[in-house]
Symmetry: C2
Subunit: 723 residues, 2 copies
């Protein structure tokens, strides 16, 4: 048994138990947990001692004395109907009064009123006090909204936990560091805390300055949640600073955007990009001052990727300036692993695995379920770790509870060892990749592994059929890159890219919306495909109604979507063909939500089509679900939707190899069984074949020279083959 790379929770009441389990698991770090305290001698338990730290919340003594220096939130009221020529709007209607107040600072300077029926900004309004705006000269039966600043009275995460757990404790207010006195106080707090926590050598920030957008409604239920949202960074102070720095006045609507708040699904405007950059620069230089204090004390600074992470943008240009030592985040599937493990400019990445050692799982008689959850989480994440491992793993909760389940402790012991063996094999070197594929959207690198997310790790009906693409990619033997339309416009397409993927619904930042009206984007990609590369579209790729087409690259994809305007045109290409791409398909393909009314153009190969009884005999029959198309020397592939499952991951892999004419290359560092994956680490000359299921599997393994070998894999097994 080896040691290291593992963090366990501990507790002043469970010191001896910690020692025993730390020994079994090879843990070299201990951490505190909600409601527990580190033992005084924590340093004797492990090399690393983590403690959580809040930067802007939890200091109500200060907040209550400086009520003008609290954080703000930029909000829009609901659409409100005028039935007369004057209209009074209650700003906080529908919002939680426990969380939010009206920030009454200079409304005429910072707020905006819109006639949403015409889109016009309205000047004839005033704040009448008490949380109401009166608009004069309204037009009957037009709808109006007000953009305004609210005061943030209660930290969103604490509020969520408070309500969920029926707590009755002090409600954390949130300090705004843009006020000088408050920022000095924040730094003092940091220094003081370092002094008082000598036994801690890793400061686990939870997190820094600004919470992701999370506000509650009038009955304190979640109203709006956007894990990427910037409205909680906005304030009169920030707007003033922006004007000074960027030389133009930022308007509330530049962020509010009619109520979308420029979430991840909206193409970012130049102004919104400026505002993000402005926020990143501010957050990173501010946090840097805290990190410098921590470093001066000889401690490490670790960021929790959650809660108040807004403005850090780990894949942005300023993240490095914080000089963080580490990031930690929760591990759901493969996407969250890669989102964490690929963050640049930190020394190590840690994943927090499931289950939490809480009484909801760790109660008498539930050991089998606890082990099953552990296995499920591990196997789901492991695919991605074979491609880019985390550096450390950890658990949370009350270790004493886990200790009641010896079977769980034993299985976790195996997993900790397996984790270390993966880290060793990969050894921070790149595994073999058969292809380089790029996901193309409006965000590019900045939202690497962050596409099609709304609330962190939550399932959404409108998303899972696309999110499955990234989940599949997270464990496939290809290099993955995220590129933006602006990248292509500025620099063209990187020479080493074999395949481009465009994934999502029409008009969203993930499919690209108006970028498809940009001739430079369209022709660059057409030319590049024509030269012999691959283009794969999922859902409504390249969608933008224009020039008699809906998919602007319908010519490349071989399909278009019928929106009603060309029903008169007969569609005959409905014959399903066998194909390289569908070779491993057994039974029906799951397209998730799929896509309606897609038809194949002449010359494309239809690989799957829905011709159900509801399609009566008619010239316009069938919905194409999967198609492949030759385009000069390159190829296009269309997929209606791709929720994650092993068969779909294989389908995508085959589509990628086919699209760039590398079919012959697929069986290198390859395992035939679709529920297995194979990774090859050239530096350590090791192959790993993993079984992603809980049953025994047979498979044929191919090395990079195409030599085959039959393998039998035990449930969850990982088989190492030394070259």
């Amino acid at each position: 048994m080896r040691k290291g790379r593992v963090t366990i929770p501990t507790d002043e009441n469970y010191v001896e138990g910690t020692r025993i389990i730390a020994d079994k698991w090879g843990a070299d770090a201990v951490r505190d947990c909600d409601g527990t305290h580190l033992p005084k001698n924590a340093k004797e338990l492990a090399e690393k001692v983590y403690n959580t730290y809040f930067v802007v919340r939890g200091d109500n003594a200060w907040a209550d004395k400086h009520t003008d220096e609290l954080q703000s939130v930029l909000l829009m009221t609901g659409h409100t109907l005028a039935t007369d020529t004057t209209l009074t709007i209650e700003l906080l209607k529908g919002y939680s009064r426990d969380q939010l107040g009206v920030n009454e600072e200079n409304p005429k300077k910072y707020w905006q009123v819109f006639d949403r029926t015409t889109g016009e900004e309205i000047a004839s309004w005033e704040y009448v006090g008490g949380g109401y705006v009166r608009i004069d000269g309204t037009k009957p039966y037009h709808e109006y909204t007000v953009n305004f600043f609210a005061t943030n009275l209660w930290d969103s995460t604490q509020m969520y936990n408070y309500i969920t757990n029926n707590w009755n404790i002090e409600k954390h207010k949130v300090m705004e560091p843009r006020f000088e006195a408050t920022f000095e106080h924040i730094k003092d707090n940091m220094r003081k805390w370092c002094d008082e926590n000598e036994n801690v050598n890793v400061v686990r920030y939870t997190t820094f300055l600004y919470h992701f957008f999370l506000v509650f409604n009038e009955i304190n239920k979640e109203k709006h949640v956007d894990w990427f949202g910037y409205p909680m960074t906005a304030s009169p102070r920030a707007f003033d600073a922006f004007e000074k720095e960027y030389g133009y006045v930022l308007k509330s609507e530049d962020i509010v955007d009619g109520g979308t708040y420029h979430n991840n699904f909206v193409n970012p405007t130049p102004k919104f990009k400026d505002y993000m950059e402005f926020s990143e620069k501010y957050v990173t230089r501010t946090v840097r001052e805290l990190v410098d204090i921590v470093h001066a004390e000889g401690k490490e600074a670790m960021m929790f990727l959650g809660d108040s992470w807004i403005g850090t943008e780990p894949y942005g240009d300023y993240f490095k300036d914080m000089q963080l030592d580490a990031v930690v985040g929760s591990v759901g599937g493969g996407v969250t692993v890669r989102m964490l493990s690929e963050i640049p400019h930190v020394k190590y990445h840690e994943g927090r695995f499931l289950p939490y050692f809480f009484p909801d799982t760790f109660f008498e008689g539930n050991e089998a379920n606890a082990i099953a959850e552990l296995n499920r989480n591990w196997v789901t994440a492991r695919r991605a770790m074979m491609r880019k491992p985390l550096d450390r793993m950890g658990f949370g909760g009350y270790l004493a509870l886990a200790a009641e389940f010896p079977g769980f402790i034993d299985r976790a012991t195996e997993i900790c060892d397996e984790f270390r063996s993966i880290c060793d094999a990969a050894d921070n070197a790149k595994p073999y990749s058969g292809l380089t594929v790029a996901v193309l959207n409006a965000w590019g690198k900045k939202r690497s592994w962050m596409c099609h997310m709304v609330a962190h790790e939550l399932w959404y009906q409108q998303v899972y059929s696309y999110q499955g693409v990234y989940e599949a990619l997270s464990g496939l033997g290809v290099d993955v890159r995220f590129i933006s339309f602006d990248d292509i416009k500025k620099n063209g397409i990187d020479k080493d890219i074999d395949v481009i993927l465009n994934v999502g619904d029409e008009g969203t930042a993930f499919s690209g919306g108006d970028y498809w009206a940009d001739e430079q984007v369209v022709t660059s990609i057409r030319k590049w495909v024509a030269e012999g590369h691959g283009f794969i579209g999922v859902g409504e790729p390249t969608a933008k109604q224009m020039g008699g087409k809906y998919f602007q690259l319908s010519d490349v994809l071989g399909v278009d979507r019928e929106k009603g305007f060309t029903l008169s045109e007969d569609k005959y290409n409905i014959e399903k063909k066998t194909h390289f791409i569908t070779k491993d398909v057994v039974g029906d393909i799951d397209y998730g939500e799929g896509m309606k009314n897609v038809y194949a153009l002449n010359g494309a190969d239809v690989l799957d089509i829905d011709i159900s009884p509801r399609f009566k005999r008619n010239v316009n029959v069938g919905e194409v679900k999967l198609a492949a198309n030759d385009y000069v020397h390159g190829r296009g592939v269309y997929i209606a939707g791709l929720p994650y499952n092993p068969q779909n991951a294989r389908l995508l892999l085959r589509a990628m190899f086919w699209s760039c004419h590398k079919e012959a290359e697929i069986e290198k560092a390859y395992s035939t069984n679709v529920v297995t994956d194979c990774a090859y680490y050239p530096e350590s000359k090791k192959y790993a074949v993993i079984n992603n299921t809980f049953e025994e599997q047979k498979t044929t393994f191919y090395d990079v020279n195409g030599n085959a070998k039959e393998l039998v894999l035990k449930p969850n097994d990982i088989v190492w083959i030394q070259e």
Copy 2:
């Protein structure tokens, strides 16, 4: 048994048989049929003798001598990729060479070339002859199209029949009446024909000048079919005349519109409306000259609503100018009945019922099926006839074949009698209506009962979920009107309208597209609903992404559709409620193709929602299928889709009564069983209750005073109740 209102086919070889069946069915008219000739003594067989007449086709002797005076078709080539700085496009690629040639008249004047990647018109091109256009200065990887005039070498309907039936006869060329000599010849033909056909007293035009848009592909399969399409009216001659009449130059793109050819689903532009009007004026004044000839000979002029009907626009402003005596058309469902029976400015309307007396149905041993088809057609059409009967009915084919099936003859005898009894009861007076409802779209009156049609009567996947609304309306006890957005903008909403329906997919002329960005449209309807009226949306009503909404009247409808931009907003309104509207629902409601991602706003009542297992536990769950919403003093109702079935017709009826607060009025002239309908004719004081099924039904009948009576209806039965 009574006589009249019935037309039967006859044949010079079946005179005595005709007499017998005419007597049984009470037929007072005989007609010829494809491949048959009227008997010499046809006038002795019936009061009315119909004979088909082609105006512009079938005279190849003339056409071959005047090859410059053939009709044209305005076409667009396919999107063609440039890979270099010059590109040659083959104009007729993908088109039938048997049907189409290139009309080489002055290409630079009449044709247009577009870069469809940018939308720009290109000037640097020339027609190099032989059917090819060369474009210079093309940009690599842009797509180009050419709009050009083709010569119409073969009448579309004849071509269709020819190919379908493997004919080998002369191919009918199509003469262009805009050439003076040809038009004079057409009139001469008409005069001569009248002289030669003294025994005929009804000229059955099949039809007039211009065919609906129907062109074939390179292997003579249907390529493009639009029963409403105008490209076959277009020609250099027409464009020149347009410029003279309207004072501006019409461009090919004004009709081609990127390949949609301004079909029924595209919002008509002012220029396209001008062109339609221009065509209507020309067609009607030209036909009028033929009708005058016919009338001078003491004959009636009857128009077949099919084939070359383009430019007549029976619901347009110029139709009356032709002074037609009658229209005849085929009867599918209730919609086609109403489309025919409500045409104004003719003396009578005739429906051609199914089945045709052709050998495909009338073969030995198939009598039961023939009767079943007769019953099905009759019962489907009858619902609509109870509201607005046709004046005459008829059959086609070979009467001798029908005579082989005595059971068929008997059942048809009953139906002819039932038809006459309906006509008598209705007596050209309006039946009682509980409500006045208006279908709102971009076409209004001009496309009365013609909404959501592509090829006449054909089923399309993208259409049936909306077409069911009209089919339901065709037999419900309400007055139906078709109004346009322009009507509302010009004249407001008619005082007597109780309910407005908006039905269709986003961006189409049927839901309205950009009209929903028109504040006058939006506010007029909001105000009108607020005053106490009803608004019902089906599919994507009022859809236009703008101002933070997708359904612009989401406030009225109580629902909006999630397009990905507001996934961050929590949607809690998912509890299904019992309601007046769904009172008669048994089992699941069939929404046809339905609509994805619709959610209810706060305050709306969710009447049906899809929460299937695929919606995992999440804040954003469920797709709303049916919702009801109070809006000031009025109400809105949302329905995801409404294919026709009896339960859906009832659902719509209840929604309409509920929406305008007339719930208490619904049980007047009403039959409770959803597979029955009730009509009341105040002038004749008769009620009719019809059984739309082939099984016995029980129902409770309510008279207009609300008195109830239990009824038992035999299969297909119609029960008359005299007040």
